[in-house]
Amino acid sequence: MYIIISGMNNITINLAKKFISDGNEITFIGLDKNKAEEIEKDIGFVTVLGNSYNKSTLIEAGIERANFFVASNMEDEINFLSIKLAKHLNNEIISICLVNKISNKKNFSGEDFDFALEYDEIISDTLNSFIANKFDQLIYTNTDNHTEIRVISVGNDSNLIGKTLNDIDLSKESEVIAIISSSGSISHNLSNTLNPLDKIIIQSTIIYKNNE
């Protein structure tokens, strides 16, 4: 998954380390040049300097291909506008917003705000688990024979853990190709139980609706 994080602070740096260890790709947006250098030295990934409520900055950070946008600045109004603009540029993105003042939480309830989390929820594993559990990525579509290939990740708190593929209610148009473990080994033994961070590769037939 590709995750853009607005706000360079200790909370987001710790979050980013968890995201990366789960195999995600991260880009930070922020204004603090010294913090950006510190981050790049410490964990060596990309930062974009600028306001996250600026269209050019979001596009430079790759908002159009991002799966998640985490607005975790210390000012609610900046998080609010950043998410509004991020959703405007990529309406498929899932937004996660830090709410600094509890009294402001009701203002983060519109359709642009998928998740508004308080400080305690951000620093706990709630957010990390949520993102890990949401990994479902389309990686290939063949329009000639109407098939697609998806990767589904088993998150740390996923209800798939301990089940076999026979226990999972896949549609009859879907077929499991392989399971990739967190160590990178590829297995075609579909009777094995699933573990956290396993990735399931599935091929499906695309069912078109009558008017498509």
Partner: protein, 132 residues
């Protein structure tokens, strides 16, 4: 008609000149002192300039005591978040928001928010909002 203006930016004077004939009760709220602005209007009894240390916490309260709200600060995040706070409580409030960033302005314009920017100021008619 009670009109409240939140924020002093370079367009605040422009807006005041457009609406001053329609109200004898215009309150201007700001977190910072702007002495040129204050000196210009200190003798005008229709205009009351009020300094607020935490304006963001006063937005809903100010709105409830106003017929029309102008969000004219230089901060797009402040103006847009204040707009949201107000319409969540008072969906039919007469409100205008100034946005400095052209892309943000266009985004809100598409969503049919009541917005102005420096590019279209001269074409904007404020009188329909502030007439009794």
């Amino acid at each position: 008609m009670n009109i409240s203006i939140l924020g002093i930016s370079y367009i605040t004077e422009y807006v005041i000149e457009k609406i001053i004939n329609y109200s004898d009760n215009i309150k201007v709220f700001s977190e910072k002192n702007d002495y040129n602005f204050e000196n210009k209007y200190k003798s005008n009894k229709s205009i009351n300039i009020l300094k607020q240390n935490t304006l963001e916490d006063q937005v809903e309260k100010i709105s409830k005591s106003s017929d029309v709200i102008f969000l004219l600060s230089e901060s797009d995040p402040f103006n847009s978040f204040s707009y949201e706070k107000i319409i969540n409580n008072e969906p039919n409030k007469k409100i205008i928001m100034y946005l400095n960033d052209k892309d943000i302005y266009e985004m809100y314009k598409e969503k049919n928010y009541s917005v102005i920017t420096y590019l279209d100021l001269e074409n904007y008619d404020f009188s329909y909002l502030v007439k009794e």
